[in-house]
């Protein structure tokens, strides 16, 4: 837990800095076990609401600002994610999981509207506009993929009285594959556009080669006390790089920033506050780090992180050499990296059952803490073709003796309508200390219409990740990580539905046509033909033999005639 605190310290430092400058950026590096490196890029710009309303864009991107104004969006969160955060070995998530989404694309926003229909209409415009801006298929977030979460999300900004007119809408595209074409528009939104500052490290090849990555955009209005209200856009990129893989073809334990990212950090972005160090790394004090010239190392007094003030004009890189295990100054593994913090909750989800008709979902939620209970909201947004049997929903606890049975405290359930909307299931529940909860329910797979199958129907259908929002603890002596909301998401699932043979329609046409034609032909022939006795018809010359005999007879008669 102490190490987790240390991770928070730069964050707290940032929180104080939020309003000092109009633009802020920082790169946080954190070596993880198993030769991985977490790189968190954070960019934040502010614009006053008056300037925003006057359409004067300076640090806030105009392209996005126009969209927000056009559809009356008060707060917006957009996530592009890829891969899986390995909580078992990497520990707690960066930003407490608040800046990551489920695999694919996730979008939620608070829109200002008088009625639900108006909100839906604006949501449609918003998703279409964002789809064009970010080159993602966000326009496929239709009503079947849109939910209105009740318990899981709370606005982060200061909205004042407008909050009564705000509608929260949430949409997920689990099938969307995040790639370079999404990074380019993301970088274009930045004032320094990847040309200077920490964003100059970002490159599609490295980012999407990462083991896990998440790009986030958060837009919220903030009203600091005694100051003018501002609209803040915060862009975050978190990635976990496999060091061995990223620095190929070089081998060895030593690594440097330019080897991992393929390029040097090109100075600083001139719009930032020069007092804020742009690069920080969380390593134990005894870890050796060499940096390029012109950089000043600032060690954090707690001995778990250090920051670098770099020269505005010069390229920057740092080298983490191999640590000598013996000799004058032997180092241990504990000196290599800070021990990652334990997450509040482990969650995994999988399908159970077999066959093409029924299935089940099992979520395993483990609370590793020996003494603290975790209360959270578990939200599932399932596609309509997965018909949930809510009566089969069961929560079973294992671990602590004497655990109570009423693990689920509150259920919000909005059943699916075929082709109109998906299932929305929100559960407020608790996991007792040092125990595991098994949450299971069954569902039925429905058969889709012919045109509803995607071209790769046999691949299966993606089911969006379930979102777990850990609620801040009410008890005063709870650990600091439990004092604010944190998130985590399970992986998305691949559901295989019964798929038909897609040449079926033509087969059906031919088959029915043949059957009809057969019936018709028989009936018609019986009706129009005349039946006579067997001995009254023409001479029956059956088969090939008869025909040949006839031919021979004919020939004979002809030759005979000639001879005559």
């Amino acid at each position: 837990m102490r190490s987790f605190l240390s991770y928070l310290i730069p964050l707290l430092f940032l929180v104080f800095d939020v309003f000092a400058s109009d633009y802020h950026e920082q790169l946080n590096l954190k070596p993880l076990p198993q030769s991985s490196l977490l790189a968190s890029f954070n960019f934040r710009s502010n614009t006053t609401l008056t300037q925003f309303a006057a359409h004067n864009f300076r640090y806030f991107p105009r392209s996005l600002g126009q969209i927000l104004q056009h559809v009356g969006t008060r707060e917006l969160h957009l996530r592009f994610s890829l891969g899986r955060w390995d909580a078992e070995s990497w520990g707690a998530r960066p930003w407490d999981g608040t800046k990551e989404g489920g695999t694919g694309v996730e979008l939620w926003a608070w829109l200002e509207a008088d009625t639900e229909e108006e909100a839906d209409h604006k949501w449609l415009t918003l998703t279409n506009a964002l789809s064009g801006l970010f080159c993602a298929s966000l326009n496929f977030i239709d009503e079947t993929r849109t939910t209105r979460p009740v318990m899981s999300f709370r606005p982060e900004g200061d909205h004042g009285p407008a909050i009564d007119r705000m509608h929260l809408l949430h949409g997920v595209l689990p099938h969307e594959i995040v790639c370079t074409e999404n990074l380019t528009p993301f970088l274009k939104l930045l004032p320094c556009k990847g040309k200077a500052g920490i964003s100059s490290l970002l490159d599609g090849h490295k980012l999407f080669d990462a083991t896990w990555q998440s790009m986030a955009i958060d837009i919220r209005p903030l009203c600091p006390p005694g100051q003018e209200c501002v609209l803040q856009i915060e862009q975050t990129i978190d990635m976990v790089l496999d060091i061995e893989r990223s620095k190929r073809p070089r081998a060895g334990e030593e690594w440097s920033l330019d080897q991992l990212f393929g390029k040097y950090l090109k100075g600083t972005c001139p719009l930032t506050d020069p007092d804020v160090p742009p690069v920080c790394i969380q390593v134990p004090e005894r870890r050796d780090i060499f940096s390029t010239g012109g950089a000043v190392e600032i060690k954090n007094p707690n001995g778990l992180s250090r920051c670098y003030q770099i020269s505005p004009e010069r390229d920057f890189s740092m080298i983490l050499p191999r640590m000598p295990r013996d000799g004058d100054n032997p180092k241990t593994t504990a000196d290599e990296h800070v021990q990652p913090g334990t997450p509040l909750l482990y969650a995994e989800r999988s399908f159970t059952g077999h066959g093409q008709e029924r299935g089940g979902v099992q979520s395993i939620l483990t609370n590793p803490s020996p003494d603290t209970e975790v209360e959270f909201v578990y939200m599932e947004s399932l596609p309509w073709f997965m018909r949930v049997y809510l009566h089969t929903l069961k929560a079973r606890v294992e671990g602590t003796s004497g655990a109570k049975d009423d693990l689920i405290e509150e259920i919000y359930y909005r059943p699916a309508l075929d082709r109109a909307r998906g299932t929305q299931l929100e559960l407020r529940m608790r996991v007792p200390p040092a125990s595991t909860v098994f949450l299971t329910y069954d569902f039925e797979k429905s058969v889709l219409r012919y045109t509803e199958y995607p071209p790769d129907a046999n691949r299966g259908f993606d089911v969006a990740a379930s979102i777990i929002t850990i609620l801040p603890s009410t008890s005063p002596n709870a650990p600091p990580t439990l004092q604010k909301t944190s998130n985590l998401r399970t992986t998305s699932l691949l559901l295989s539905l019964p798929t038909p043979d897609f040449s079926m329609p033509y087969n059906v046409i031919i088959f029915t046509s043949t059957a009809i034609a057969l019936a018709f032909g028989g009936l018609y022939n019986i009706l129009v033909r005349r039946f006579v006795g067997a001995d009254e018809g023409p001479e029956e010359v059956g088969g090939l033999r008869g025909k040949i005999a006839l031919l021979v007879a004919k020939l004979k008669s002809v030759t005979k005639g000639k001879v005559d």
């Binding site: 300076r58 046409i509 034609a517 001479e539």
Partner: protein
């Protein structure tokens, strides 16, 4: 009865039996018995084979049976032709709403409305009495009407009612007067009439020498000719623009063949008409400075007056942005004419069009020390105009990182004049005159565009018989024609412009209806091919049945004729 004892045969398919039947039955027996005969084929071969036959001839068929069989075949065919085929055709055919094609073609050919409208001009002569004023008016009108090569415009002169309080309200006699000609007598020193225009009110001041003072009796006067010539000069540009639109539209007109080259260039440069335009002012710089500008006050000072004048015709929304690290498409120091086209780096500069339908005009200030080569004709040495897109101004880098509004004066004034030419405003005359001309010219333009869209749609629906026409298209066409009629009836007024605009949007929407395109590649052959497995097997017995029945009937008739 077992099937082996029954031998079915078609009635007419037993030529070999012919002799036997004819011999067995007397010729006086009726046609039913002899019907199966193939009279010619029966004679040659049967002599050899038949004597050995152990078959006896089938019993004669009854008249009623033959009649019933014909009835069956007829009813089958009746059912297929009157019910089957129509139902099949109807259920598989493409929906085509009926369009008023003749009306549409009339509009497209300019038969429904001729876009020539009267322009009312008031003649104010405070020093002349009513009769004298009337006289000079009618003489001038005559002079105008007899003027060669000045068709199209109908300049309608009328004497303004003598205003009692002369000089206080000089220009607003009638609101729909395009121009007021004010005649004032000069002193004795003036020998020839002198004219002058006001720059802010649509008034043409003419000072005439006392010798030319018109009287009530004169039938021709030098003053009248002078006024006519002045008016002609004033409206020459409007005339030219209208002719240009007529010539470029689908309405064929022989008298407008010679298009003025510079005028055509100017007109292709201008934007398509819209009620609202979105203006984007962008400050681009290839480095990190300047990063802020005083654009708000600069626009208010230098741009706002022009926008206010354009208010009756167009609305404007404005946004501004600052973009650092924006690299132009051409890096060379001195830009040639060819470079200007690729200078705007469309791939990287965030100049996306605004959301919401209004066309966007871009005004880009690029901070850099590039210059434009002097051989360029398109702009001055610092700025150029990109047709139908906007304009670019190269600003030499300021010393500070903030650009003051004083520094922006020249660029914004250049943009204001570029805006006028992008909107297609005529170049000569006083500003109010130019704007009223703009309104008239634009309504003609819209009218012609809407008409030509309707014509294209009519031709399209005639050329592609398998294209589907949804009812929304028919609605759009009806609305468009309705608004065209309204616009035509009030030609020259501001409502006319509005109606013409609606008509144009409706016509465009109807033409670009999405669902029309999807059906393009589903022709009738495809339909037949899909249903061939049914149509073939059902059709063959039907046709064969009909053919044999027809043959039999023919044979019966021949026999009857022979016997009778």
């Amino acid at each position: 009865m077992s099937s082996s004892t029954i031998r079915s045969r078609k009635d007419a398919s037993a030529p070999s039996e012919a002799e036997a039947t004819t011999t067995a039955t007397g010729p006086e027996r009726d046609a039913t018995v002899t019907k199966p005969n193939g009279p010619e084929s029966a004679t040659t071969t049967t002599t050899v084979t038949k004597p050995k036959s152990k078959f006896k001839p089938p019993p004669p068929e009854q008249d009623s049976h033959i009649f019933r069989r014909s009835l069956i075949i007829a009813s089958f065919w009746l059912l297929v032709l009157c019910l089957g085929i129509p139902i099949w055709w109807k259920t598989t055919s493409i929906y085509r709403a009926s369009l008023p094609l003749n009306q549409m073609m009339d509009w497209a050919n300019g038969k429904a409305c001729s876009p020539v409208f009267p322009i009312r001009i008031a003649i104010e002569a405070p020093d002349l009495n009513g009769q004298e004023a009337q006289s000079i008016t009618s003489i001038t009108q005559y002079a105008l009407d007899t003027m060669p090569d000045f068709p199209g415009h109908r300049l309608r002169l009328e004497a303004a009612p003598p205003t009692p309080s002369e000089g206080t309200s000089p220009s607003n006699g009638h609101d729909d007067n395009a121009l007021v000609v004010r005649l004032t007598p000069g002193d004795a020193a003036t020998s020839a009439p002198v004219s002058s225009t006001h720059s802010h009110v649509p008034v043409l001041e003419i000072t005439y020498p006392p010798s030319m003072r018109p009287t009530a009796e004169t039938t021709s006067s030098g003053l009248a000719t002078y006024i006519a010539a002045q008016l002609r000069d004033t409206f020459a540009e409007e005339q030219a623009i209208t002719s240009y639109f007529l010539a470029t539209s689908t309405i064929s007109s022989d008298q407008h063949t010679g298009i003025d080259e510079p005028l055509a260039k100017r007109m292709t440069r201008s934007m398509k008409y819209s009620g609202t335009y979105h203006l984007t002012f962008s400050l681009f710089t290839s480095g990190s400075t300047p990063s802020s500008w005083d654009i708000d006050s600069a626009i208010d000072q230098y741009m706002r007056p022009v926008l206010d004048l354009l208010q009756p015709i167009h609305n404007f929304t404005i946004d501004t942005q600052v973009q650092l690290y924006a690299v132009p498409g051409v890096q060379s120091q001195s830009l040639t004419k060819e470079d200007l086209a690729s200078f705007i780096n469309a791939a990287e500069w965030p100049l996306s069009p605004s959301i919401g339908g209004a066309p966007t005009l871009n005004f880009v200030i690029f901070v850099g020390d590039q210059t434009i080569g002097l051989n360029s004709e398109e702009g001055t040495s610092r700025s150029w105009l990109a047709p139908q897109w906007g304009s670019v101004y190269l600003l030499s880098p300021p010393t500070t990182s903030h650009v003051s509004s004083e520094f922006l004066k020249q660029p914004i004034l250049t943009f204001a004049s570029h805006l006028l030419s992008l909107l297609g405003t005529p170049q000569s005359g006083s500003l109010p005159m130019r704007l009223s001309t703009l309104a008239r010219v634009r309504s003609v333009d819209m009218l012609l565009r809407a008409s030509s869209s309707l014509g294209s749609l009519a031709r399209l629906s005639l050329a592609l018989p398998s294209i589907s026409i949804p009812s929304s298209v028919a609605d759009g066409v009806a609305k468009s024609i309705h608004h065209l009629e309204l616009a035509c009836s009030k030609l020259g007024s501001t409502e006319s412009l509005e109606h013409a605009r609606i008509a144009e949007t409706e016509a465009e929407q109807a033409f670009f209806e999405k669902s029309m395109v999807g059906q393009l590649y589903f022709p009738d052959e495809h339909k037949v091919a899909v249903y061939l497995p049914l149509l073939g097997p059902v059709g063959v017995p039907l046709v064969m049945g009909l053919l044999t029945e027809f043959k039999a009937w023919k044979a019966r008739r021949q026999l009857k004729a022979k016997t009778s």
